[in-house]
Amino acid sequence: MNDDKVIICRCEDLTLKELRELLKRGYTTFDEIKRLSRAGMGPCQGKTCKQLILNEIKKYTRLEIDKIPIRPTAVRPPSRPLIFNEILESENERNS
């Protein structure tokens, strides 16, 4: 298969080829892959790639999906990118 034409994280343009290279280098947790590739850090916050990455880790490590370590703090607020003005408006609301 043409791994470099398979997009895993479409927000951050991570390909299957790049993901498999990271796995071969020993990065086999979601957190490490996220930090090194930015997968899951784009506008959709991992809705598309998380499951695909976990499936690849499972294939590579033979760990069941619920045994693959994910830090409990991996999902952080806000759940989508906010516009600065939205935060500014909320400050004004608080001060008024």
Partner: protein, 362 residues
């Protein structure tokens, strides 16, 4: 800061029923909906529902959305519920404080109880060319077509023969598009056979034990290559078939959308039968957080019918917890349990039943 009694997050079938049943028990509800209109996925479901007449069998999804919306508007006029549309919850702070965006500002509120009915997101498939323009999720095509009146292409390949794949294929045909085939990796059709028969009668081939191998095209999808798979879902070389399409529609399952609960550290379990990572919950739909309840696809991928029943149940239970509701309302809880159980007795609910058992084990 704004204080509310019950916050319902998401105005789809589960959220609308949760709001209604809580309000009818006497509680005060605030309902947040991200979209312009209430209804969730119902607003694009032009087909009639199956199941029991109590749960709107024989009625089209869009009509159910209108009916429930008008019931909620009645309660809004009585001042029992505050309905905010184009309001999106984005932060779940500690305590019972939550942040949502509404009319260009991030606002906060504090609530006693919460019912999350945030639904699900569509799954993506890894294959070469999967980022070419023309590759869509089936639900997105259904929204474009039935809500916005836009057809994103002329010739379609559907990937996945579950109910979504079959129904969207039929609706594409109704809209005048061509569906050149449906591929399904499993050896049999996953959705209801009545939907499959409809599209077969209209000449659409359903290729079971087949998957998509690649998409080709210069600036957008021009063709799809499909391939037969063996009983371990491995492609069988030499069985490739090229289909000239400009849209590849992926109907390959849904993931419960629980990111807001994950932010708050609520317990999740990995249960493939329920769609992957689902918030752990008891039979009353209460999560590991005593004030947070879930219903609908977020609690496990199922159908709009069960979403409505779960919503009704969560609304009754939460209102009861806050001391609302008379004996009649509390008796309703038992009836809703019974209806949910009845609906799940069929062969199509086998996965849900297995998933529910795993949930009990935590």
């Amino acid at each position: 800061m704004e204080q509310v009694e019950i916050l319902v997050v998401g105005g789809g079938p589960a959220g609308m029923m949760a709001s209604l049943s809580a309000v009818q028990s006497g509680a005060n509800v605030t309902l947040l909906e991200r979209e312009v209109k209430l209804g969730g996925q119902l607003i694009k479901q032009t087909h009639k529902f199956f199941g029991s007449y109590k749960e709107y069998a024989g009625v089209r999804g869009i009509e159910i959305a209108e009916k429930l919306t008008s019931l909620l508007k009645e309660q809004e006029d009585k001042g029992k519920i505050s309905i905010l549309t184009e309001a999106e919850l984005v932060v779940f702070y500690h305590d019972q404080t939550l942040g949502y965006t509404y009319k260009g500002a991030l606002r906060t509120l504090k609530t006693q109880k919460m019912i999350f009915t945030t639904g699900a997101s569509e799954r993506m498939l890894p294959f070469p060319g999967n980022d070419l323009p023309g590759v869509y999720a089936a639900g997105a095509i259904q929204t474009l077509m039935n809500v916005n009146g836009v057809l994103p292409g002329e010739k379609y390949l559907m990937v996945g023969a579950g109910n979504i794949g079959l129904i969207v294929s039929y609706q594409l045909l109704q809209a005048g598009a061509k569906v050149l085939g449906v591929v399904e990796a499993m050896p049999r059709i996953g959705g209801y056979l009545v939907h499959a028969s409809k599209i077969r009668r209209m000449g659409v081939p359903i290729y079971t034990s087949h998957t998509i191998l690649e998409a080709h095209g210069k600036d957008r999808v021009e063709e799809a290559v499909i391939i037969a798979v063996d009983n371990k879902y491995k492609p069988i070389p030499g069985t490739e078939k090229v289909i000239k399409v400009d849209v590849i529609s992926l109907a390959v399952g849904l993931n419960p959308l629980g990111e807001l609960l994950e932010q708050r550290g609520i317990k999740f379990c990995y249960i493939p039968e329920l769609g992957g990572f689902v918030p752990w919950h008891d039979e009353n739909l209460r999560t590991s957080h005593p004030d947070v309840y879930v219903a609908g696809d977020l609690a496990g991928i199922e159908e709009a019918t069960t979403a409505m029943l779960q919503g009704e149940l969560a609304g009754l239970v939460v209102a009861g917890e806050l001391g609302y509701g008379n004996l009649e309302e509390q008796n309703k809880i038992g009836l809703v349990y019974q209806r949910l159980k009845e609906f799940r007795t069929g062969p199509k609910s086998e996965k849900t039943r297995e998933g529910q058992l795993k949930l009990i084990d935590g």
